[in-house]
């Protein structure tokens, strides 16, 4: 079975600086779930940015959904990105848009009518405990609430791949568990999930593959299910 995502001999440097990612090889199988961990500054966010096509590698190949990303046109890149949901570490919410509008954002670019997704967005926000804050602006929310909005936005379009950068970092343990159950449920429904986290305790509670990034180099530890390989 061909992987849904494949990174081959990836190197990344910013400008003329040193390589922050070195010879990264990674394959994610469709429907797999895995964690990415490592110390601060190891390059986790850079690696995730490569995967969700916010960066181009300095060397190597990124293959997504069977398509070589380096050969994709800008319009094709947009279509590939629509199949990836991202929970950013800094949330990246648009402060002039309401909670509802932030979550509905990916759906606006799919050509769907506002009426057709309004109920879905409202239900999803209720599920993450923000059903009464649909019209609130992000500036008025707590860190945990913002994180839940970011997660709702990442999953609302039912992406093929879900990438989350420290998704439980700003929520209480109870909400953290609830969000992880959401990710697991999405994974059970066929979504490939990659979660970057420092939280070893959280990682240990899931019997999935774990990638560890140290000084720009990636290592692999297989979980009970064999979802990915390096």
């Amino acid at each position: 079975m061909s992987p849904i995502l494949s990174l081959s001999h990836i190197g990344l440097r910013y400008g003329n600086g040193p390589e922050v990612l070195q010879d990264i090889n990674l394959e994610l199988q469709q429907g797999s779930m895995q964690f990415l961990t490592g110390p601060s500054g190891a390059g986790k966010t850079s690696l995730l940015r490569l995967i969700y096509l916010a960066l181009r590698p300095s060397r190597g190949f990124v293959q997504l959904f069977g398509r070589d990303a380096s050969l994709a046109s800008r319009d094709e890149l947009a279509l590939l990105r629509r199949r990836i949901g991202v929970v950013f570490q800094g949330f990246e919410l648009l402060n002039h848009l309401s909670v509802f509008e932030n979550v509905a954002l990916p759906l606006r670019f799919t050509g769907k009518r506002h009426d057709s997704y309004k109920r879905d967005v409202e239900d999803l926000l209720s599920w993450v405990g923000l059903g009464k804050m649909l019209d609130a602006l992000p500036d008025t929310l707590s860190g945990g609430e913002k994180q839940r909005v970011a997660i709702a936005r990442a999953v609302v379009a039912k992406p093929d791949i879900l990438i989350a950068d420290e998704p439980t970092g700003n929520v209480d343990p109870q909400m953290g568990q609830r969000l992880m159950r959401l990710f697991s449920e999405l994974n059970r429904l066929g979504t490939t999930v990659l979660i970057a986290s420092h939280d070893i305790g959280l990682i240990e509670t899931f019997p999935v593959d774990v990638y560890t990034l140290v000084d720009g180099r990636l290592s692999f530890r297989a979980g009970k299910n064999k979802g990915g390989r390096t």
């Binding site: 969700y52 096509l53 916010a54 960066l55 181009r56 800008r74 319009d75 947009a78 279509l79 990105r81 629509r82 991202v86 990246e92 648009l94 002039h96 848009l97 309401s98 509802f100 509008e101 954002l105 990916p106 606006r108 670019f109 799919t110 506002h114 309004k118 649909l134 019209d135 936005r153 379009a157």
Partner: protein
């Protein structure tokens, strides 16, 4: 009952750069509107004057004899294509000379040519040579002026005003395109994070470019309405108020009011050009600087 939730604008509406930009674009539309209206009035007025000149001729009875003038009138009235003809008096002819000779310096025995005014039914028919030949065959010593000299001079003037206005309009449009491009790039830089988020949730470049294009079309229409409104008030004030500098407008006030439609066109064109410029500035910028 809960209010219906509408789609929100993806670009913030309260951008602090919009105020000064609105002001500058209003001035551009005001100047462009004045220029366009001036050109339209000039062209229309000259066309009106040329029409009047082509529908009349003047026969000059050189010996100043009223009887000869009357003979010419009778011959002319019988000619096909002549609507009316009448002879001016010696007093009228003297008044025409007064600016050069003064009212007291024209002796009574000075032979002053008498003018016969001819109105034609159709412009330019019969032509001046036909009129001159007919009067010469009757033994009358006259000359016929079909005013073509003045018509040509008016055409040249109209062309000059037209060219000048087109040059001013082109200059204003070029400046507006440059300003819109600059403002768009500044807007993109200010909204870099927003643009990145839109990209990452799947927006195409063309979608983002359209957002900026629409913003500038709306800004263009708003500033256009103000600029064109100010221009309309100014033009109407000049035509109705009788300011000396606008005397050329007052001559054909009716014609001038008829040309105010240009004031609808200028802001519309400005808005479309502004939107188009913003759209393509964003597309170029995204291709150059964004992943």
């Amino acid at each position: 009952m809960k209010a219906e939730r509408k789609k929100a604008a993806l670009l913030p509406n309260n951008d602090e750069r919009d105020g000064p930009l609105f002001f500058v674009m209003t001035i551009f539309v005001f100047l462009a509107s004045l220029s366009a209206v001036s050109a339209a009035i000039a062209v229309q007025s000259v066309a009106h004057w040329k029409q009047a000149l082509r529908s009349e001729m003047t026969v000059q009875v050189k010996n100043g004899n009223p009887e000869t003038a009357q003979q010419a009138v009778e011959i002319l009235r019988k000619m096909p294509g002549v609507k009316s003809a009448y002879a001016g008096t010696r007093e009228e002819a003297k008044q025409l000379l007064e600016p050069w000779l003064g009212s007291q310096n024209i002796p009574d025995d000075l032979p002053i040519p008498i003018l016969v005014y001819v109105q034609l039914e159709n412009t330019g028919y019969p032509d001046s040579s036909k009129l001159a030949d007919t009067l010469a065959e009757a033994g009358l010593h006259v000359s016929v002026d079909d005013h073509q000299r003045w018509a040509k001079a008016l055409s040249r003037s109209a062309q000059s005003v037209q060219l000048l206005s087109i040059a001013v309009l082109a200059l204003l449009f070029t400046a507006m395109i440059a300003i819109t491009g600059f403002a768009t790039r500044a807007g993109l830089a200010a909204h870099k994070d927003l643009v990145e988020v839109l990209h990452l949730v799947g927006a195409r470049d063309s979608t983002i470019a359209r957002l900026f294009g629409q913003k500038f079309v709306i800004l263009g229409l708003k500033s256009g309405a103000f600029g064109a409104g100010l221009a309309a008030i100014s033009v109407a004030g000049l035509m109705v108020g009788g300011v000396g500098a606008a005397s050329f407008m007052q001559v054909e006030a009716q014609v001038g009011f008829g040309q105010l439609w240009v004031l609808l066109l200028v802001p519309l064109v400005m808005a479309i050009v502004g939107g188009w410029t913003a759209h393509y500035s964003v597309l170029n910028n995204l291709r150059k600087h964004h992943q």
